[in-house]
Structure formats: C-alpha cells, structure tokens
C-alpha cells in the first residue's frame, strides 16, 4: 500500500512537473540598476509575445527579458508581479518579431546561460546576447573617453557599439543601425579608457561551430524562423561587425596555447596567416616579432608568417601601419599554427607613408629597399589629383627623373631602361600614360609596391639598376565593394568582391581620360585645337583559394595610349600582361610559387602626310615575352633558403613599316629578334636573435639569342649583411652584381612613345653592373623617427648611347649608330622619416653623381673626346619633403616639396653661318645644366564621414600642384628660326599652379 501511494505521488509529481504553467516561476523583485536605469534588454515595458515553454507554445503573453540575470520575465496581468520563467523549460520566446532562443535548451551546452538572438549571413550563424553588468561605482568609469552613463543625456542613447572599418553600429531595441557619431559622441562611444570588465554593458557574440544547432533538436520553433532571420545587408554588416569585434577582442584578451604540451624546452615554430578581418584578404608585409623585437619576420604576399620562438610564454606583435596594432599572448608548447586577423585603423587618414615597418630597416639584412602602400600613394599630392605610383616612387631617396613629364625613373644613377617594372610578375615596358603625366598603374587595384635599389633579392634579375615589384589586390572575398574616382582629367572605377565567398574573389579596375574630349572643345584660335591625347587601362584579377595550402591568382592588365598634336602624326602604344600564379604552401616552412604569363608592348606611329601623301606610313614595333618563374622558399632553423629558376622567351619585332592609303612606301619588316633568357638561383638568409644577419645568393643567368645564335652566361652575386648592436641601431653593407640582356633604344632624355627595345646579340653586348653599398639606420624618440644614411658606388658596362645623327627606327644596321658606354654612379642618401603623431612624413636628401664614358675610341667623333660626361639624369642635389598633418580623423593636409639640381643638357656654345642662316654648334654632351628645380604641392584631404546609413562614402582631395607657380624648366633650347637671331627658350611642363579636385566614392 505504501509502495502504491509512493508510486502515485511520484507519478503525480511527474505529471505536475510536465504541466508546470508558464506564470508559476520564481517571482523577481524589481531592483535599481545604475546603467540606463533598468536591467531590461530593451525597455521597461512588458509587451505581448510568444513563448515556447515546457513543450507548449503560449501566445499573447506579456513578457520582457532581464539582460542582467538573463531571465525571461512573464506577467500574468499588468499589475501582477513578474515571474522569472524556468530557464531549463524555456526554449524560446519572441517579442516584436525577434526571437530569443535558449541555446542550452537546444543542447548547446557550451553556450552561456540565457537567451540569444541570431544573426545569419546565409552561411553562418552568430548568436548574440546582451549583457548588462551591475556596477556599484559607476562614476569611476566615467573618465575621459569613457561612456558617460552618469550623464542623463546618454542614458537612453548610448548602449553599445560595434565597429567595422570606418563604420560604427549601435544595437538598440533589438535592431541595429549605422550611425555617424559626432566628435563628442564618438569620443564617448569609444571606450578606450574603460577596461572590458568594467564596461557596464557588452554584447556577447558566439559562433556555434556546428550546423544549425536547432535543426533536429526535436522541438518546435516559431514558424518562418529561418526565413525571418535571413540576413539583410544591414544585418550582415552587423554580423560582420560583431564577428570582427569578437574576433579582435578574442585575440587580444586571450592567451593562446600553441602546440602540444610536454614537448620539451627549446624553440618552436609559430606560423600562420594574417588576414584583414573585414575583407578576409591576406595581409602582406606585416611585421611579426616577439617582445624583444630582435626576432621577427614579415608576412609574404599570401599573409603567411613563420617565426621561431622559445617555448613558454611569449608576446607576439603584429604591425602594419594601416592596421591596428595587435599583440597576442601565446604559450608556445611546440610548433603550431596561429592565424591572426587585423583590423584597419579607424582613422582613414593614414598617417604614415612609406611603410609601417617602423623598425624595418633594422631588421632586414638587405638595404635600399622601399615599400609603399596604396594609401601612401593616394596621399602624396600629384598633378591633377590622381594617385600615382611612379610619382610617389620619385619622392624616395635615390630615385630621380629627367623631368615632370617623363614616364621613366632613374635609380641610383641608372638609366630608365635598367629598372625592372613588374606588375604581378609581368614586365611593364612603358610605365607612363599621357606623356608620362600619369603612371600606368591604377592605384585602386594596387596592393603593395616594393622598390629594390640595392640589395636586389636573388629571385629577381634581368635589369641592372632596380626592381619595382607591384602587386595587385586579391579582392574582397567577403562582399562586393567598389570605388569611383572623378578627377579633372581622368576617372577610375573599380569593383571587387567574391565569386565564391571566401574562396574565389575578383578585382576589376579601369581608368580613362577625357582629355580627348576636352581638346575637341577648344577653339582653333587657341593653338591647341586639332590634337588628341587619351589613354585607358583595365586591370582584372581573379584569386581562388583551392584549399588552405594552395591558391591561384590570375591577373591581366591592358592599357593603350594615343595622342596626336600635329594632325598628320599619331602615336599609339599599348601594354598587355597576363599572369597566372600558383602558390603552394606545403607547410609553414616551405612555399612554392609558380608563375607563368605573357607580356606584350607595342607602339605605332602613323604619319599621314598631307604634304607628301606618297610618304605616308605606319611604323610599329612590338615586344612579346612568355615567362615562367618558379621559386621555393624554405626555412631551416635560422636559415631561409630560396631557390628557383626563371625562363623568359622573347620575340621582338624591332620595326615594321607599312604604307598608308595612296602611299608609295614599301612595306618592310626588320628581322625579328628571338631569344631565351634563363636563370637559376639560390640564396640564403641567415638570421637569429643575435646582432648579425647575412643574406647572400647566386644567380646564374644565361641568354641565348637565336638567329644569329649568340650565347651569354653571367653569374650574378648578391651579398648583404647587418649588424645591430642595439635594437634601434643597425649597420649594413652589401654588394650585388646584375646583368641585363635587353636595351632601350632611345636618344631622348625621357622615355618616348616610339622608343624601341632591342635584345642583346652578336653585335650588342648585354649590360652588366655591380653596386656596393653601406648604411646606418637609427630609430629614435620611441620609434617615432627613423634616420637612415646610405652610400653606394655603382658601375655599369655596355650601356648604350647614340652617335650624332643616329637613326634609331627602321635601321637594319642599328648597332653602327650606337656606342657602348661605361657608367659610374655614387652617392649618399639621407632620410628622416616620422611615422607617428599628427605630423608624419619624410625628408630625404641625396647627393649623387652619375656619369658615362664611351668605351671605344672613334677619334674626333668620340663622345666628349673619350672623357667622362654627365648622364642625362645626373642631378647632384636632390631634396624631398613629403608630409601629412592630420587636423582630425577626417581632415588633413598633405604637402610635397621637391628641390633638385637641374639636369644636364647639351646647349649651343657656338654659332656660324651656313647658307643664308645662322646655325648652332653644340657643346660636349650634357656639359651644361638647366636651372634648378623647385616645386611645392599642397592638398587638403577630406575623408569619408561615418554615416552609418550611407551606402556610399565620398572622399575628396582639393589640392594645388606647384603652389608657387614656379616655371621649372623641363628643357632649354635655342633656335635660329631660320634667321640671324638666336633665341633661347625654356620649356616648362607645368608653368603655373595646377589646382585640382579629386572625388572618390566608395560603396
């Protein structure tokens, strides 16, 4: 009997438990709450909602949620006390269409207790919970920059924020929106002074690492649950923001254990990938170092890093100037991986220009290496406001040009054809648009730019002066973005986004000019009518991540230029580059890169002489090259070994002339040139935590010219070393030798549209050169100021110059019109670079000389009698000052000051009568100089505001090129005008102030 009673009671208890009503729970007393005056999730009002409780769905229940205790509060009537529903029985409830889910109820045991709302981006789900903290001393946290929750004005407004790149998101009443915080609000919102544990309110986000946890749970969920939660763009933006914030916060606040415990003491390798948290793009050139700063490495273009650390506790620092600093506490047990995300600095006004590597010069063994970023380029004032890579490169020490409108540049005394300009591995033969006023590269799609002036890595070859390696971006793998830029002369548009999210992305950019249209508008009386000048270019990049270790990148670049200022002559030239790159990271110590591609450069001159129709013709030249480059980088302890090989096949058409309609010109093609350039190389970088590091290598290059067959073989050597007695002081020295099997045939100072290239062969020897350099690098004022001093001496052989009256086009005996010269260049480069604070920038001064001497004795015709003469780009004094002063996050001014000695010119020194007119007799080659060059540019930069609801974001640059209006001479010339008077003239490309306005729209 007793057993029966017990059984009945137990049964009844079970039935009672199964039928526990919703409003019979723990009664909760109301209490004061310092923040916002209440502890509710949204507001104090109870609103009708739907509750799934104990297997029963209750509708029209008056509910609210306590964000402090994470409990569902239910009221039976308006005046009844709230009851906290039993959490273990509550599956979900919905208020105002927002569903709050108890994840633990659905089996997600790792989820903190309480209710969560979900956000989805169609692929992943992130769960959010609002948590209010009870702070007994709120006033303590109301400091500068803190949330002013003692201020009644903020009580209802400031809740919390998320930040994604330049945008702020607030979460309010279950929704979120993008806002533009004013200065005061922004200051209030950014809790820089508040430790996370004291923040009175936080949003907690969790990504559940499994498929939808609710699926298959066997419990009822609200109808349209998933459809309701399909993401909107705003929700996905918030989702991303939450994720980023959570990820960033997670990285910062956690201590990561790497590797398996008990692996013993010693050193272990930590490797991983660094990505942009917003776009997912890999971040290259990020400095990764340990606490001491002596042990460091840089991420490669795929964002990969690998660093050897002692086992135990360590601090890993990640530095890139446009990204927020990231310091990660790690406990290294054994080798392992740690992927990191970094977030772009909220301040869109990037304040540093050259490189984020504040201490970079101390860490590299190599020297004479400059790195530029896209933002650097866009903030250096330039003519017409178009960000320009070449013009920015020209602000660096040791880099010069012969004038404002010149396409090429000269590095440490080398000629413009001695620079290898690579765009995603493809060679760009003419890097200028519109006579050199603009460079050929679209800064919208450019990612990183590296200029090697001295310690040229062994993987590069083919030019004897420098390498300018330009990489394009992979494109945002997360979402579609774009930008549109409007300038006075040009416009540019770019789009990027995922094709397969987080796997395949694209970037597409294009530029064009309306100078053609403008020229057509002007009247004939102006003297400029009848001409045309235009250009356009397109970049396309496709990046596909095959898996974690393999990726493919396909890039293409096409450009065309055309201009004519005399109606009968038209110039056109075009670049085409296609490259496919496969990167395979077998493990963190072993990376293989394989690139194959095709380049083409062609130019055409069309001369339709009205005065001589029989002599009308079209003259063109073309160079094509197919290339394969393979390189392996392998780390072995303190050594980083790189080895690989290149193969380039050249097919060059040095000249082709064809008649135009009605012309008597005989079509003719010069004999095509074909050759194979092959190189294998191996190098080693040795560095440890000591003060010394050494990098060296050998490159064996060979060149086989076909028809007639001629073979050249040249071993090239690279060696550089570093000694760092202090962490902020280092000394370096290096020497390298290079060879070059291709020549630019030109007798103009600047790269001309009709310049042709010729390959080395039986009658044209390859150029060879070597350079020795040394330098000291010192960082002072807490890494705020970098000081570097470099000196170099360089020799070049078999450089080409031309005989007087040389005919360079359609010349079957071209070598007979050319002369071989030897060159010497030497100089000292001083650079002061400030990268922090409101005022950033650099000051560089270069003293250098560059001279040439003819190698043959041709008697009276020998150039300068066989003595040394100035190279066309020899400008001994060169001073550059580039800076940016930031007033606020949105407003800044940029300035660029440029002074240099005038370049050498050949001018008349004598005159005589010949026939009926006075003629001029010229000096020895380049014996005189044009007046010194001076220019000051100013620009006001206005960056986008943080309007949360704005779909587009506009930035503007208002500037003035050549503020002082100085008439800088591009050249001076004399003319007799067919008479007896000799008149001197000076050509000035930009002879007055050039104001400009550039608008950029991002979306």
């Amino acid at each position: 009997m007793r057993r029966l009673v017990v059984c009945i009671l137990v049964l009844l208890a079970g039935v009672c438990a199964a039928q526990t009503p919703l409003d019979r729970g723990r009664t909760l007393n109301e209490y004061n709450f310092p923040f916002n005056g209440h502890y509710f999730w949204n507001g104090v009002e109870y609103r009708p909602g739907t509750v799934y409780f104990n297997g029963v769905t209750y509708r029209g229940v008056s509910v609210n949620i306590n964000a402090h205790t994470q409990e569902l509060l239910v009221k039976q009537s308006q005046f009844a006390p709230p009851v906290a529903a039993e959490q273990s029985l509550t599956g979900w409830f919905a208020i105002d269409g927002i569903c709050y889910v108890n994840l633990r109820y659905y089996g997600v045991k790792e989820a903190p207790a309480g209710f969560w709302i979900s956000l989805q981006d169609g692929k992943r789900t992130v769960w959010m919970q609002r948590q209010k903290q009870f702070l007994r001393e709120p006033g303590d946290h109301n400091g500068v920059g803190g949330i002013g929750y003692d201020d009644p004005n903020y009580r209802e407004n400031i809740i919390s924020y998320f930040r994604q790149k330049d945008y702020y998101y607030t979460v309010k009443r279950g929704t979120f929106k993008r806002i533009h915080p004013g200065k005061a609000r922004r200051r209030a919102m950014i809790p820089s002074g508040i430790p996370p544990e004291n923040n009175p309110e936080v949003w907690v986000a969790r990504e559940i690492k499994r498929n939808n946890p609710l699926k298959g749970a066997g419990y009822e969920l609200p109808p349209e649950w998933f459809s309701k939660n399909e993401t909107s763009s705003e929700r996905s933006a918030l989702l991303a923001a939450i994720e980023q914030e959570a990820m960033i916060a997670s990285y910062r606040n956690k201590t990561y254990e790497i590797g398996r415990k008990g692996a013993g003491e010693g050193r272990a390798k930590v490797s991983g990938v660094v990505r942009d948290v917003a776009s997912g793009e890999a971040l290259g050139a990020v400095l990764v170092s340990d606490r001491s700063g002596r042990n460091y490495c840089y991420t490669d273009k795929e964002g990969r890093y690998s660093l050897s650390l002692p086992t135990g506790e360590n601090l890993l620092t990640f530095r890139e100037y446009s990204m927020e600093d990231m310091d990660i506490h790690v406990i290294v047990n054994s080798s392992g991986e740690l992927d990191i995300v970094m977030r772009e600095k909220v301040t869109a006004l990037q304040s540093a220009y050259v490189t984020a590597e504040g201490m970079a010069d101390h860490r590299r063994a190599g020297m004479g290496i400059e790195k530029l970023s896209q933002s650097t380029i866009t903030h250096v004032p330039s003519a017409f406001g178009e960000g320009d890579i070449i013009k920015t490169v020209l602000t660096l020490p040791g880099v010069k040009s012969v004038g404002e409108a010149s396409s090429g540049f000269n590095v440490r005394g080398g000629s413009s054809d001695q620079n290898l300009i690579l765009l995603d591995g493809g060679t760009i033969y003419n890097p200028g648009h519109l006579f050199g006023i603009f460079s050929a590269f679209n800064t919208d799609v450019v990612d990183d730019i590296e200029l090697y002036k001295s310690s040229i890595p062994v993987r590069y070859g083919g030019r004897i002066s420098s390498v300018l390696d330009i990489g394009t971006r992979s494109g945002n793998a997360e979402r579609l973005h774009g930008s549109l830029g409007l300038g006075i002369l040009t416009s540019h548009l770019s789009l990027e986004g995922p094709i397969i999210k987080n796997r395949t992305s694209f970037v597409l950019g294009g530029r064009t000019t309306y100078s053609d249209w403008l020229l057509r508008q002007i009247p004939r009386s102006s003297g400029y009518a009848g001409g045309n000048a235009s250009f356009s270019d397109v970049n396309l990049g496709l990046t596909h991540r095959i898996d974690e270790r393999n990726s493919l990148k396909l890039t293409g670049y096409w450009s065309r230029d055309g201009f004519s200022f005399r109606g009968d002559t038209t110039f056109r030239y075009s670049n085409l580059d296609i490259a496919l790159k496969w990167t395979r990271k077998r493990d963190e110590d072993h990376t293989l890169k394989l690139t194959a591609g095709f380049d083409q450069y062609s130019n055409t001159l069309q001369r339709g002489l009205e005065s001589d129709p029989l002599g009308s013709y079209s003259l063109s030249t073309r160079i094509r090259e197919g290339f394969v480059r393979a390189g392996v980088e392998q780390r072995l302890g303190s050594h980083t070994i790189s080895w690989g090989g290149d193969g380039v096949f050249y097919a060059l058409q040095p000249g082709s002339i064809s008649p135009l309609e009605g012309s008597a010109i005989i079509a003719k093609n010069l004999k095509p040139e074909m050759a194979q350039e092959t190189a294998v190389y191996a190098g080693d970088l040795w560095q440890n935590e000591g003060p010394f590091s050494v990098e060296g290598g050998v490159r064996l290059s060979s060149f086989l010219a076909l028809d007639p067959v001629k073979f050249y073989f040249t071993p090239e050597f690279r060696l550089s070393g570093k000694y760092s007695p202090l962490s902020n002081l280092s000394f370096k020295a290096g020497v390298n030798s290079m060879s070059q099997y291709i020549h630019l045939i030109s007798n103009t100072s600047a790269i001309s549209p009709m310049d042709t290239w010729r390959l080395a062969g039986a009658d044209m020897l390859p150029q060879k050169g070597w350079q020795a350099a040394g330098g000291a690098y010192w960082t002072v004022f807490g890494n705020a100021l970098d000081i570097s001093l470099e000196a170099y001496y360089k020799r070049m052989h078999n450089c080409l110059d031309y005989k007087s009256g040389a005919v360079l086009s359609m010349n079957e005996q071209l070598s007979a019109d050319l002369v071989r010269t030897t060159g010497r260049a030497y100089g000292v480069e001083l650079m002061l670079r400030k990268q922090t604070g409101r005022l950033t920038g650099w000051l560089s001064y270069t003293w250098s000389r560059s001279m040439l001497k003819e190698m043959q004795d041709r008697g009276i015709e020998t150039i300068n009698g066989g003595d040394w003469y100035n190279a066309p780009h020899d400008k001994p004094h060169d001073l550059k000052l580039v800076g940016n002063y930031k007033f606020t996050h949105r407003y800044s001014i940029s300035f660029n000051l440029d002074y240099s000695t005038g370049r050498p010119v050949t001018i008349p020194v004598g005159q005589y009568y010949y026939g009926n007119a006075v003629r001029l007799m010229y000096s020895q080659r380049n014996a005189y100089r044009i007046p010194d060059y001076f220019r000051l540019d100013l620009a006001l930069n206005i960056e986008p505001g943080h309007y949360l609801k704005a779909f587009t974001h506009m930035s503007a640059t208002l500037g003035c090129y050549n503020v002082t209006g100085r008439r800088n001479a591009y050249s001076v010339f004399y003319t007799t005008s067919g008479g007896n008077d000799i008149k001197g003239y000076m050509v000035s490309v930009f002879a007055t102030q050039i104001p400009y306005l550039s608008l950029n729209l991002k979306f």
Binding site: Q521, A917, R925, F990
Partner: protein, 390 residues
C-alpha cells in the same frame, strides 16, 4: 560661356609653356671652319668659308672675319676648278663645263696651313619639278611641287628665290621736304608736286632667298618621287602676294648623307626643346682636316646638277583688311604753333588737289603709305618682270 570655360580649363591643363631664356654670349674659342655650298655641275659653284663664333655674337661681328686660302674643286679624272675669291669668304668656281659624270671633291688649303678635303662624291642628277602650284586654304597660300628623281636619285633638296612687286597705299600728288627747300623762296611751304619719273614711289620690287633648304626623301618608297612637297606658305595677308609674286625653285638631288646632315643641322637649330626631342649633338660632315685630325670642318659637300621652275602668283589670294585712309589727316600745329612733318611728308589727294596746297588745306599721310621704298623695296624692277609697272 561653356565653351570659354572649357577653353580656359584645357589651356590651364595644357599649360606646358615656352618662355624666353636668355642667351648669354659664350667665351669659347673655336678652331673649326665652316664650308657651305655644293659643287654645282653645269653652272657656277659658290662655296663660302666661315668661322664658328661664340654663341651670342652679333651677326655684324661674324661678317668681319673669314678664313681665306686656296679652294679647288677636283674630279677623279684630274679636272681642277680653282675658286675665285669674291668677298666675305665666298669663292666662285666656274664649273659650268664640268662633266656630269665621275666623282668630285673640294680641296681647301687655308692660309694658316690647315688642309681639308671632302669625300669624293658622285654627281647627283637633277630631279624634274612638276606641278609647281599655289593653293589657298583660306589663311595661307601654300606653294608646293612634285619632284621626280632620276634613276638613282632618292634624296632631294630645293631652295628658292622669291621676288615680289608691291605698291604704296596711295599714289602721292605732293611731297613735303622740310630740309631741302630751305633756300627756296618761291616755295616757302616746301611742298612740291609729284610725280616726276625719279620720284614715283608707288611700285617697288624686292626679293629674298630661302633661308632653309627644303629636304625630302623617297627612300623606302617604291617610286623615287615626292608629291606635294611644301616649298613655302605665305599668309593671305602678306604683302608679298598683294600685287605680283614670283618664286623660282631650284631643286637638286643630294646624297643620303648630305640630306641627313642638313636635316640634322636644321633639327638642332630649330626643332629642339619638345618633350621627345633627341638630345642635340654635333654631326660630322664629309670634310676632314688632313693636316690635323683634331680639327674639323663643318659642312657637307655634294656634287649636284640643279633644275629650276618658276611660278607667278597674282593678288587673287590677298585679303588684307587694312584701311590706309585712317592715316590721312589735316595737320594741326602743336603748342608752339609748329607743324611736325618729320614723319609725314607724303600727300594723297583722292579727289582734287588745290591750286595752292598748304600744310593745312590738304590731307597728309605717313611716308610709308606713299613711298614703297619705306617697306624695304626698291625701284629695281627685274628685267624679266612680266608687267609694265614702273
């Protein structure tokens, strides 16, 4: 408005300007000599020697000093033609009987002992000039021609000499000569009636040679002809075509080296300074110093035959919007009651001339309106001129 704004914008963008740059007189010393001219087969050859002067030297200084010596034209067959010194370094050779075959060279021995010789040059036969014509495009009268080379002739050179007739704006009736009639008691006003044959200054003639040789090449073409070779362009407001204009074009064939040399000389004297202009340099000609290899001679000697063509252009293309009547006026005395006729002593009488002309009862005009000589012409009418103007 839109157009002008655009124009301003474009001009601002195209503000690649050319500014005067001072030419300072150099102090370099030169030992080079200049030899200009060609060996002309079938006519007199004229070869001129000169020196090189520092840049900035006044032309008058340059014309004071010339090298002198012995100049001989030689041919491979032993023929010798010695030059006769004329003036200002000019030597004339009577090569009218020189055969148009074989090779020629110039041999120079300067009085200081330096000896120069040119390369042996074959004779280039004269091209045919066809279709010498003038076309007007509204702004310019363009004179052009076709050249047709002989068998092996692919490079051409031409020069021209232009002669034109023009007239003063008004035919004067009276002349005021303030100086001469001082003693003329019978004519105290110093006003004389015109014309007399000696004082008819209405029509004048003048001429000018070409300064630059014209150059063209048919190399690379299937035929050795040049079409529409531009000889000269004259503005439609140029006085040269106001009455009667004549151009005599003389064309010759030259060597490829000679054309390249002259083209280079032209380019470095007139075509430098643009963005893509070649760096100027001195080109060596075909004359070398045999006595001192370090000395050089500037110039290129070719042996050529020449041909000539003539073209007259009437006033049909001339349209000068100029009203000389605005310069005629009744003189007024100055503050001192004096008449300043220093620059105005021509007179035009469109209707009638008073019996007793005075300074104030007739209209007077500036001399350049009534005296054609004021415009650098002369009354020396060529004997072959086809009209009867005096």
């Amino acid at each position: 408005m839109k157009k002008s704004a655009l124009t301003y914008l474009v001009l601002l963008l195209l503000n690649s300007c050319i500014y005067p740059f001072s030419v300072e007189k150099g102090d370099a010393e030169f030992s080079d000599i200049v030899v200009s001219g060609d060996i002309l087969i079938g006519e007199q050859s004229r070869i001129q020697l000169g020196y090189v002067f520092p840049v900035g030297t006044f032309p008058t200084e340059m014309r004071r000093d010339f090298p002198t010596g012995s100049l001989t034209i030689e041919n491979e067959d032993g023929g010798r033609w010695r030059g006769e010194y004329q003036s200002r370094g000019l030597y004339v050779f009577d090569t009218s009987d020189a055969p148009a075959e074989g090779r020629y060279r110039l041999h120079i021995i300067i009085n200081d002992g330096a000896e120069y010789v040119s390369e042996w040059m074959g004779v280039h036969h004269a091209p045919a000039i066809h279709n010498l014509k003038a076309d007007c495009d509204g702004e310019y009268v363009n004179i052009s021609m076709d050249l047709e080379g002989a068998d092996s002739l692919w490079n051409f050179r031409w020069d021209y000499n232009q002669t034109w007739e023009y007239h003063a704006d008004y035919y004067p009736d009276l002349m005021f000569i303030p100086g001469l009639p001082e003693k003329d008691r019978e004519n105290p006003e110093k006003i004389y009636r015109l014309p007399t044959p000696e004082e008819d200054y209405y029509y004048c003639w003048t001429s000018a040679p070409s300064v630059e040789p014209g150059l063209a090449s048919a190399e690379g073409q299937s035929i050795n002809s040049v079409k529409n070779a531009r000889v000269l362009s004259i503005s439609c407001t140029d006085m040269r075509i106001s009455t009667l204009y004549c151009i005599d074009v003389t064309a010759s064939g030259i060597s490829a080296g000679g054309r390249a040399y002259l083209q280079h000389m032209h380019d470095i004297s007139n075509e430098t300074g643009s963005l893509f202009s070649p760096t100027p340099s001195e080109m060596t000609g075909n004359i070398r110093c045999t006595s001192d290899p370090t000395l050089q001679a500037i110039g290129y000697i070719d042996a050529v035959c020449r041909t000539t063509a003539r073209l007259f252009i009437g006033p049909e293309y001339y349209h000068m919007a100029y009203d000389p009547a605005q310069w005629l006026f009744y003189p007024e005395p100055d503050e001192d009651g004096m008449y300043n006729f220093d620059h105005f002593f021509g007179y035009a009488s469109p209707v009638s001339c008073p019996d007793t002309p005075t300074k104030t009862n007739v209209k007077w005009g500036p001399k350049r309106c009534v005296d054609c000589r004021e415009l650098k012409g002369s009354k020396n009418k060529p004997d072959w001129w086809p009209n009867d103007h005096k």
